[in-house]
């Protein structure tokens, strides 16, 4: 299914979706009218108290899409339109108010509904200076206003909910009925939406919302078509997909932020329970930080099962999960849509549609790719934690644009990772010299997927497939020798000075390192002869694996070998770190005796 079609389908399954032609908007004021058009009451419609006071959402006729022009809504709008009053400068308030009056004079002409008549009478009578009267408050300025007949108001029946208003709105909003075209979402003939409703809540986009379907410059149009005619989508389909998307974007249960991609996801299944479970599990894949109180037991079991595989789960859990996963694998369709803004337009970063079972398998593959020993301090780091490792200064806003989306797409599809992932991580390592478990696991994952190499999870002292891995280990040994000789308080260690060139052009550096380490070793021998022997032994061991006859140090390393270098360094370095810790506890144990 196409993106719009699947969203339009999701709309049909939304539990409390606004009906066609209506939309939920934040309303601040209700004006009660007498039948002669005089104001009977003005009621604030707020939630909360004091500073937290916020307008309350209400179902109102769909707003028109306003960009630069003046366009009034039907039966409701903000005060500058309805009353001609605004707190700002309001250069064109008078025009806006006139437009509101004019539209309603036109649409409401000839009505005999007492409510609609009252509104007409009110508009004819109203002048902006009447706002000074006591019942109006300055707080009301620039809020959205709806009307009600005073007699209806106590029953919470608003003017736009009166049957006559609804019938009129159906007629007004249903398009002119002329020029029906085939809709590319439904395949049925209908009036085509000229402009689609705005999509709000895409991170980094304009606050007034943006559009997926828009043709805002003539370079984007074809065959002389105007606006919506370039891609005929019926009014109903346009309403359905935007409503569904807006609902998902504003709902924490259907939304994730991954880098610059605002990601929405939803499940579609006959079995509503299974769909809910899938929707609850998905965000836990990529942002497990929230995993606590609101995670159900079932989601926990599913996650454990996916992360660890069946073998390592204990029996009871595995049995319980079996039933659950069967439910999810059968007939739950899952959709993921990544959006990124480009000013007023919204671009699709990625779109994924498949069975949940396949998604779960791809996630499992991702977890396996990323597994590394020793692990990061928290297991299963959220995706943004990894992404930050690609960013300058470790700031989330510095994550290279598009990288997050491309990576996410690769994870969801089980496809190759973007190679920019490897090059950015390598250049980050060169720039700040830090190589941690997160970076190492990204290196490992790219090596496995894109280069189809066999890569060890933990330190593998016998691994000889890659020169980069061996030299990375050797580099860590030299660093350790320096540390053993000079202690931890060296201003610039050989890692700080040489990591970048050692990983890229080893031949230039390693000769230097070797001669330097001889001096350090001599010092270590005096301080602690045993340690010197151990380090030398390790160095020889690594050297032996390298077949020195073929020339041990290549002139330069390609990106994949640089990744191996980083991985080898990380493995060896953390091995030293581990043994150092063990030694310390041993030593303290001895002194205690």
């Amino acid at each position: 299914m196409s993106i719009l079609a699947s969203l339009a389908r999701a709309y049909e399954r939304l539990p409390d979706a606004p009906p066609f032609g209506y939309s939920v908007q934040n309303i601040g004021v209700i004006v009660g009218l007498n039948e002669d058009g005089t104001v009977a009451s003005v009621t604030p419609w707020f939630d909360g108290e004091g500073k937290k006071r916020k307008p309350r959402p209400m179902l109102v006729p769909q707003p028109v899409k306003r960009t630069a022009g003046i366009a009034p809504n039907f039966l409701w709008d903000k005060t500058s339109y309805v009353l001609g009053v605004t707190s700002g400068e309001g250069k064109r308030t008078a025009d806006e108010h006139a437009a509101f009056k004019e539209r309603h004079e036109k649409e409401l002409a000839g009505t005999d509904d007492p409510g609609l008549k009252a509104l007409l009478l009110f508009l004819r009578r109203w002048t902006p200076d009447q706002f000074d009267a006591s019942q109006w408050s300055d707080d009301f300025k620039d809020q959205n206003v709806v009307f009600a007949l005073e007699t209806d108001r106590h029953n919470n029946l608003w003017l736009h909910n009166r049957d006559a208003a609804k019938a009129l709105w159906m007629r007004v909003s249903g398009g002119d009925g002329k020029n029906p075209q085939i809709c590319l979402v439904t395949g049925k003939s209908g009036p085509v939406a000229r402009v689609h409703p705005a999509i709000k809540g895409v991170w980094g986009g304009q606050s007034s919302g943006g559009s997926i379907v828009s043709f805002n410059l003539d370079a984007f149009t074809s065959y002389g078509h105007m606006q919506g005619d370039n891609a005929p989508v019926s009014e109903a389909a346009a309403f359905a997909y935007t409503t569904a998307l807006n609902t998902f974007l504003s709902d924490k249960k259907h939304r994730l932020q991954i880098g610059d991609a605002s990601t929405v996801f939803w499940a579609d299944a006959e079995d509503a329970e299974a769909a809910l479970l899938a929707e609850a599990a998905f965000p836990e894949f990529f942002d497990p930080a929230k995993e606590d109180a609101d995670t159900t037991k079932e989601v926990k079991i599913l996650l454990e099962r996916l992360r660890k595989g069946d073998q390592e789960l204990d029996k009871d859990l595995a049995l319980e999960a079996g039933e659950l996963v069967k439910k999810l694998e059968k007939g739950v369709r899952f959709y993921v849509l990544g959006l990124a803004p480009n000013a007023a337009r919204i671009s699709i970063r990625f779109y994924y549609e498949s069975d949940f079972g396949e998604l779960a398998r791809n996630y499992q593959r991702f977890v396996n790719d990323m597994r590394i020993e020793p692990p990061w301090r928290e297991p299963y780091a959220p995706l943004w934690r990894y992404l930050v490792e690609t960013a300058v200064l470790g700031k989330r806003e510095n994550v290279p644009p598009n990288l997050a989306g491309e990576w996410m797409r690769a994870i969801l599809n089980g496809a190759d990772y973007p190679l920019t992932l490897l090059s950015t991580v390598l250049s980050r390592i060169r720039a700040d010299g830090e190589i941690n478990a997160l970076r190492a696991s990204i290196l490992k994952a790219v090596l496995i997927r894109n280069y189809e190499r066999k890569v060890p999870v933990a330190l593998d002292p016998t691994m000889t497939d890659s020169k980069g891995y061996l030299l990375g280990r050797l580099f860590a040994v030299y660093e350790e020798i320096q540390r053993a000789a000079l202690g931890g308080n060296v201003n610039a260690t050989i890692k700080d000075k040489f990591y970048g060139s050692a990983s890229a052009t080893p031949r230039k550096v390693f000769g230097l390192l070797e001669s330097g380490s001889a001096n350090h070793l001599a010092k270590v021998r005096k301080l602690s002869p045993g340690r010197a022997v151990n380090l030398l032994k390790l160095q020889d061991q690594i050297m032996d694996l390298m077949e020195p006859s073929k020339g041990p140090y290549p002139a330069f390393f390609s990106a994949d070998e640089q990744a191996f270098f980083g991985l080898g360094y990380h493995h060896q370095h953390s091995d030293f770190f581990k043994s150092r810790k063990d030694n310390q506890t041993d030593a303290s144990g001895e002194t205690a005796q």
Partner: protein
């Protein structure tokens, strides 16, 4: 299908832009019939014949990648060109690309590979010299030699297409076993949604025509002109 031909086409990238997402471009999953027609016409076309695409065989699982490019924000209006021609003066008829930039994202297909199955019909412009056999021979000869009037492309001009004739009588190439997945409609037919069939250039307003695209065992059947499956 008596005069059917099959042409293998492939390239590094392809963008068969969906009409609803043609600003921030998103490609269809599979080549559209009108894009296939464009490739065939690049190899051989005469006013006497009209290409009809029968089916698109998909050889590779669709894979996407998203790129951002700086493009131009406006076109030179045809009316201005006309008046410039009348005046015999180019004054005011220019488009300064570096001053009219639009950054646009495109989600494009990576390493696509298809076999186009098509045939042609003679049009009313065919005269006594035109026979179906003649044009078929011309096409086959040209495609075999790799000749084309202009470089065929996969959806947009910047994504050039390579092509190769599938010899008459040879079996249609099949996707590799690892690609015979549900993405290509094996096991279960995969619905792709409504796809652009072509533009109705004859009708007033040049409306678009759509059809319900389904991938079944790696093949997308394309409805014949005039069939009720084409919605317009």
């Amino acid at each position: 299908m008596a005069y059917g031909i099959r042409l293998k086409v492939w390239g590094d990238y392809a963008c068969f832009t969906r009409p609803e997402m043609k600003v921030e471009r998103v490609s269809y999953d599979v080549m559209t019939p009108s894009a296939a027609r464009g490739i065939l016409e690049a190899v051989h076309w005469k006013p006497a014949i009209r290409w009809v695409v029968d089916a698109i065989h998909v050889m590779k699982k669709p894979q996407f990648q998203s790129v951002r490019r700086n493009e131009v924000g406006s076109k030179i209006p045809a009316g201005k060109v006309k008046s410039a021609m009348k005046r015999g003066d180019l004054e005011g008829l220019q488009l300064l690309v570096d001053e009219d930039r639009q950054q646009r994202a495109s989600t494009v297909l990576v390493k696509p590979r298809y076999v186009i199955a098509a045939h042609f019909e003679l049009t009313t412009k065919a005269d006594a010299d035109d026979s179906e056999g003649k044009h078929l021979d011309i096409f086959n000869r040209r495609a075999r030699r790799g000749q084309c009037f202009h470089q065929p492309c996969l959806g947009t001009r910047e994504f050039a297409a390579s092509f190769e004739l599938v010899e008459p009588g040879d079996p249609t190439p099949e996707p590799a076993p690892e690609d015979r997945t549900r993405d290509l409609g094996f096991e279960d037919a995969r619905r792709l949604g409504f796809m652009l069939w072509d533009i109705d250039h004859q009708a007033k307003g040049k409306p678009s025509m759509f059809f319900d695209a389904v991938l079944r065992d790696g093949v997308m059947q394309v409805p014949q002109p005039g069939s009720p499956e084409i919605r317009k």
